[in-house]
């Protein structure tokens, strides 16, 4: 069985989404399975079309947000969304959405981008995370 990396993706800001997407790509490139559990603001980032308009960055560094965007465009750095699609193309990247957050926000799987595979609760994530070689909360 392939090694696995599990990520709880709690954040919805592009700086943290970028970090998560790069880690997912790296793991997939090294033949690791990737399990991503979207919860809270992570759900918000995966609402249909949200990746096109999301420019939020972490509050602590929000004054650098526009500079970061300009640098990424100038240096043609792939966006977190492009990285994620790339990771799914090369590897087994499974994305689950937190049922509790969906309920809270009044959403269903249909409101999220099609890269999200299913809706699960915390138990399913734990079952998949417990044997992971790498587990992260982002």
């Amino acid at each position: 069985m392939a090694d696995r990396m599990s990520i709880v993706l709690f954040s919805g800001t592009v700086d943290k989404l970028l970090a998560a997407s790069i880690l997912a790509t790296g793991a997939a490139a090294m033949d690791m399975d990737v399990e991503i559990f979207l919860t809270t603001w992570g759900i918000e980032a995966f609402r249909k079309g949200a990746y096109k308009t999301n420019t939020r960055v972490s509050k602590d560094f929000e004054e650098y947000g526009s500079v970061m965007r300009e640098l990424m465009a100038a240096k043609k750095a792939p966006t977190w969304w492009e990285n994620l699609l790339g990771a799914r193309e090369i590897g087994d990247v499974h994305i689950a959405a937190c049922s509790m957050t969906l309920e809270l926000f009044g959403l269903t799987l249909n409101d999220l981008e099609s890269v999200v595979d299913e809706v699960t609760g915390v138990a399913t994530f734990m079952e998949r995370a417990k044997d992971s070689k790498v587990t992260l909360f982002i």
Binding site: I22, T25, G26, A28, A29, M30, D31, K75, K76, A77, P78, N83, G86, A87, E89, I90, G91
Partner: protein
């Protein structure tokens, strides 16, 4: 620096930032036959360590690495 190694495929990953060089490499790798050699040129500062590490994990042999004006070129052979 010139090389004597003949590559069956050349990947130009110059200008690509992490994680694109290994993403590009992994995409290409599935169509590489055992015994074939892939050359990849990269300018990402992390590539010097990342590409040999990727090769080790994936069971590829680094036959040669050249460095010329900030461009690293690795010659990787698929062994399994």
């Amino acid at each position: 620096m010139s090389t004597q190694v003949h590559a069956d495929q050349f990947i130009d990953a110059k200008g690509q930032m992490c994680p694109m060089p290994i993403l590009t490499l992994k995409k290409a790798w599935k169509d590489v036959a055992v015994g074939q050699i892939v050359a990849i040129a990269a300018t990402d500062q992390g590539a010097k360590r990342d590409i040999p590490t990727w090769a080790e994990v994936m069971g590829a042999t680094v036959l040669e690495m050249t460095e010329e004006q900030g461009v690293l070129t690795f010659y990787l052979q698929k062994v399994a």
